[in-house]
């Protein structure tokens, strides 16, 4: 560290004063210090090194890892069947056989939260993948081709973005009926335009860049230019956004469920558990019914937000 200072980390005002002419790049490392690394591996290692230094991001990454593992092994570690009602043991306080207590129907809250986690990650990741697939493809097409396809695709995104996100999702789910698949479809329908916009903006900027001009001048095909020269650079902000969008989808599903739309009524979904906790059970002292699920949502969204933040800083230190 002391022998190889990271140039990106020392953008103090001292540096900007010292660098005095247009010939010098303030972020250029001192000569001879960056050579010798293989470029691609060095870049990834650099990103990982910067990411590691961000404590919040590391916490986020660890939590995301734990959540994914919990979701995968949910059927094996769930102490009860989350759907199992026990009318003889309703509203049991946390502790004893039920570490998080039971709800108004005597269902184990901890098992419900675990099931909700699986559901949240399933919907979050599927929505992200769906929106990215559609958004990146259409955005890249619009940005690279320009003209006609750009006009059409961008007007379509305009139309979709004109609908408020949650209200739009609500209407789509109401139209297609309730269920996890319907929720994912609704969130993809409302989510892809953002990804497309982002991708298009990157494409437009990079299309005119000098190295793409250079590739074009030596006769590289469009496909090669897009996949080899533009994509690796354009994908970074989209990649960062994909983490944010998982959080957005998790919250959206919970919000829909809170409003009583989306997953079937008896599903142990976080938003629904919160709704039941505050709207239906108004027994004093039973606050754990909404506290635990709302904490579950917060932990999940914060973890993904921290990772996205850390990634952004690590990928583009200048943005900090």
């Amino acid at each position: 560290m002391t022998t190889t200072p990271d140039p990106a980390d020392t953008t103090t005002s001292a540096q900007s004063v010292i660098v005095e002419s247009a010939h010098a790049d303030p972020f250029a490392p001192p000569e001879g210090e960056t050579k010798g690394k293989t470029k691609a591996r060095g870049q990834l290692a650099d990103i990982w090194r910067r990411f590691k230094r961000n404590k919040l991001a590391m916490v986020g990454l660890v939590v995301v890892g734990i959540l994914i593992v919990l979701a995968l092994v949910q059927p094996f570690i769930s102490p009860y069947d989350p759907y199992d009602q026990n009318l003889l043991n309703t509203l049991a306080s946390p502790g004893g056989d039920h570490i998080m207590g039971t709800d108004a129907l005597g269902r184990d809250l901890y098992s419900g939260l675990l099931y909700g986690l699986k559901l949240a990650l399933l919907v979050g990741v599927s929505t992200m993948l769906g929106s990215m697939f559609v958004g990146v493809a259409l955005g890249a097409l619009a940005g690279y081709r320009g003209r006609f396809s750009d006009g059409i695709i961008m007007r379509v995104t305009d139309i979709f973005l004109a609908f408020p996100y949650l209200i739009g999702a609500l209407l789509v789910v109401r139209t297609f009926g309730s269920g996890v698949t319907q929720v994912i479809i609704a969130l993809v329908v409302l989510g892809w335009p953002t990804a497309a916009r982002l991708m298009r903006g990157q494409m437009l900027a990079l299309r005119e860049s000098e190295y793409v001009e250079a590739a074009r001048s030596i006769g590289a095909s469009d496909w090669r230019i897009v996949t080899r020269h533009i994509m690796p650079n354009a994908i970074q902000p989209v990649f960062i956004y994909s983490f944010t969008s998982i959080g957005v989808a998790v919250v959206a599903m919970a919000s829909l469920a809170y409003l009583g739309v989306g997953v079937p009524p008896d599903t142990p979904e976080w938003g629904r558990l919160i709704n039941q906790g505050i709207e239906q059970v108004q027994v004093p002292g039973k606050d754990y019914l909404w506290i635990f699920p709302s904490l579950a949502i917060c932990i999940t969204t914060l973890a993904f937000a921290f990772v996205a933040d850390g990634l952004r800083d690590a990928l583009d230190p200048k943005l900090r």
């Binding site: 007007r155 139309i159 609908f163 209200i167 809170y258 409003l259 739309v261 709302s294 937000a305 943005l319």
Partner: protein
């Protein structure tokens, strides 16, 4: 500039027409309010009578054109449940929502812009660290959860009315609006603070800031005149868009606090399959959003003279 405004307005009108058309199709063609669903059995004869009564026996394009025509005369149709004019229902709910949006946006701008400037000007200071931590938390926490927490902990205390409330008790509007407004403002204020900070930091590095200092201007003038005017440009875009979103109704926040605005009305209408009300509110939300993003674009051109010419 004039040409730019006209082109932008034409584009906005196209978007509104396309969006309402899509909405119309989704609501009245795919989701038939009079069809038998689940337990609700509607005899075909009744269905036909109802359709005729509400003009739904006509062709879809015809229905849409009628709707558009009525829209321009201020006729938003009749609500399917209690047969009240939709316009009257909106007349009650809209001012409440507008008030909520306005107060939220004021909290947003004041907190967000101030925090962003402070964090940028005193970079690496305690304040900067504090702003970074708070914005990270606020952006990571869902509005929905913040609303639930505020409702479960704060409502009912001090001047904040109890939720859910008994309908006999009336609270003055300014106490009612505070918690939902604050809930809505938190995330946006955090975004604005971040945007403002980043933008300000970038501008403070610019050569013209050095020029301003070399002129002998005081630091306050350098920041509040030369740096502010440049760094506010991207923030204005964000603020404008979020006004558009807020005006469109905050369905989840209004529902959590049972706040009598268009968001809560929309929620109830969706549950009751009250298509005319849904149609009216969502059309309004689309209009608000599209109009605001158009205004933002025009304002942007005004603020940045470099764009104005191209």
């Amino acid at each position: 500039m004039g040409k730019f405004v006209i082109r932008r307005a034409a584009q906005a009108i196209m978007v509104v027409i396309a969006a309402t058309m899509l909405l119309f199709l989704g609501l009245f063609v795919l989701g038939d309010p009079f069809a038998s669903t689940g337990d609700k059995v509607v005899p075909p004869a009744t269905q036909a009578i109802l359709r005729e009564k509400f003009g739904m026996d006509q062709s879809v394009p015809m229905q849409y054109l009628t709707y558009l025509g009525n829209l321009f005369t201020g006729d938003l149709g009749i609500d399917l449940n209690q047969r009240r004019p939709v316009a009257d229902m909106l007349g009650v709910a809209l001012p409440n929502s507008a008030r909520l949006a306005l107060i939220a946006i004021i909290i947003d701008i004041v907190i967000g812009v101030a925090a962003g400037i402070i964090a940028a000007v005193w970079r690496y200071s305690v304040w900067d660290v504090l702003v970074t931590i708070l914005t990270t938390l606020a952006i990571g926490l869902p509005t929905f959860v913040i609303g639930v927490w505020l409702r479960q902990t704060v409502s009912g205390f001090w001047i904040f009315p109890q939720v859910p409330r008994t309908f006999t008790e009336l609270a003055p509007w300014y106490t009612e609006v505070l918690l939902p407004a604050f809930t809505l403002a938190i995330v946006d204020a955090a975004f604005i603070a971040r945007l403002m900070r980043g933008s300000m930091l970038e501008v403070l590095r610019a050569d013209y800031i050095r020029t301003a200092r070399a002129k002998g201007l005081g630091e306050r003038t350098v920041i509040m005149k030369h740096a502010f005017r440049n760094s506010i440009i991207p923030v204005v875009t964000y603020i404008g868009i979020s006004i558009g979103v807020l005006l469109g109704g905050a369905i989840i926040t209004e529902t959590i606090f049972q706040y009598n605005g268009i968001g809560f009305l929309l929620y109830r209408s969706i549950l009751q399959q009250n298509q005319p009300v849904i149609m009216a509110i969502v059309t309004y939300a689309v209009l608000a959003y599209v109009a605001l993003s158009m205004i933002v674009d025009i304002l942007y051109a005004y603020l940045d003279p470099r764009i104005r010419l191209s």
